[in-house]
């Protein structure tokens, strides 16, 4: 192992073992300056539009997949309601967007993920309406894009299906919170050290908390995916999730 790797592992362990309460969830209402709220919102809009078209196309071309679409949304709904304790001594929740991304592509999950965030912002005061754009960008744009790219790369490398599903969901989850850290660090650069110092601080809170949860989300996604694959091979082949000859 290289010295750099050892250093990184040491750093991870240090963060993991430092008990500190954290807020490893979405950015709270009012806690992002207006200009950043607008910027992330504007960046998210095109993905939502593409997603709406993509959903319509899916429903038109594969009417039988409607049930799967509802299940993909429901999965994100369940998982983002579960606040799970983590090694940092605080709680966070999975995002559940990986499953839908694997089934329907990233843009569809931008729409479904944003709906979940809206529900939580309006009814639960979790996240926020002003920060919806920023939170949608991390959970419903970056997360699905990472999950999608991971899935495609691993499928291309001909690794087993289960590994592809696991890594796609886990990395999508993890990168969502890395993005949240970046968003907060951009809005709140430290006086000394600027963006990077803030990024390290927020990553320590968000990303490290998220590691065990990312693993859990990966496993849960594999379980649900296997169940769907067992009963609904035809649809998965239609949607090009499974290769036709398999």
């Amino acid at each position: 192992m290289s010295r750099k790797k050892i250093f990184m592992i040491g750093l991870l362990l240090m963060f993991a073992l430092l008990p500190k309460p954290a807020f490893a969830m979405h950015i709270m209402e009012g806690f992002l300056p207006l200009e950043w709220c607008m910027a992330w919102g504007v960046l998210t809009i095109p993905f939502i539009l593409v997603g709406l078209f993509s959903i319509r196309k899916t429903i038109n071309e594969h009417p039988r997949a409607k049930m799967l679409l509802a299940m993909a949304g429901a999965f994100a709904f369940v998982l983002s309601a579960l606040k799970i304790p983590s090694v940092t001594g605080s709680c966070s929740h999975p995002t559940g967007v990986g499953l839908g991304t694997i089934l329907f592509g990233p843009a569809t999950m931008t729409v479904l993920g944003t709906i979940v965030l809206l529900f939580q912002a309006v009814l639960l005061a979790h996240g926020g309406i002003t920060t919806l754009g920023a939170n949608a960008f991390s959970m419903a744009v970056v997360g699905p894009l990472v999950a999608f790219a991971t899935y495609k790369i691993i499928k291309k490398a001909k690794w087993p299906q289960g590994i592809a599903v696991f890594l796609a969901a886990a990395l999508g989850n993890l990168m969502t919170y890395v993005m949240t850290s970046i968003q907060l660090a951009l809005a709140f650069p430290a006086e000394t050290g600027g963006f990077m110092a803030s990024l390290v601080k927020f990553m320590g809170i968000f990303a490290v908390t998220q590691i065990p949860l990312a693993i859990s989300e990966g496993i849960l996604t594999v379980l649900v995916f296997n169940a769907i694959a067992a009963y609904s091979k035809g649809e998965l082949k239609d949607l090009n999730v499974l290769s036709k000859e398999a």
Binding site: P19, P21, A22, F23, A24, M25, I27, M28, E29, G30, F31, P33, L34, M67, L68, M71, G73, A74, F77, V78, L79, A81, K83, I84, P85, V87, T88, G89, S90, C91, S92, F119, A121, V122, L123, L124, A125, G128, I129, T130, F188, A190, E191, S198, K201, F202, I205, P212, I215, S216, I219, L220, V222, L223, N226, A227, I228, A230, Y231, S232
Partner: protein, 100 residues
């Protein structure tokens, strides 16, 4: 599902449960808050002058009501998810029966 498939699934579920419970033993004194209040601290440490400029429109009146809403969210979601799985399972059985 085959017997080995079931065992594999059970092992995976056990890992998820372990990952959830272990932190509770690793961090005995931690509060395990997802406390949004802690966010204020981290942000205010960086920028002492920052004031949140927008308040949530409706806030659950208490922790109990909040957990009611969160469990409702999970219940609705898993209701749809498992309705779908049951539906697909029944449909597959029916299609297999029709083939014979």
């Amino acid at each position: 599902m085959s017997a080995s498939g079931i065992i594999k699934s059970l092992v995976l579920i056990a890992i998820v449960i372990a990952l959830t419970i272990l932190p509770l033993f690793m961090q005995k004194d931690a509060e395990f808050g997802g406390a949004d209040g802690e966010a204020e601290k981290a942000i205010i440490e960086i920028n002492a002058e920052y004031k949140p400029w927008f308040e949530p429109l409706i806030e659950p009146k208490s922790g109990e009501i909040e957990s009611l809403l969160f469990s409702l969210q999970a219940a609705i979601g898993s209701g749809i998810l498992f309705y779908g799985l049951g539906y697909m399972r029944g449909r597959k059985k029916q299609e297999e029966a029709a083939k014979q």
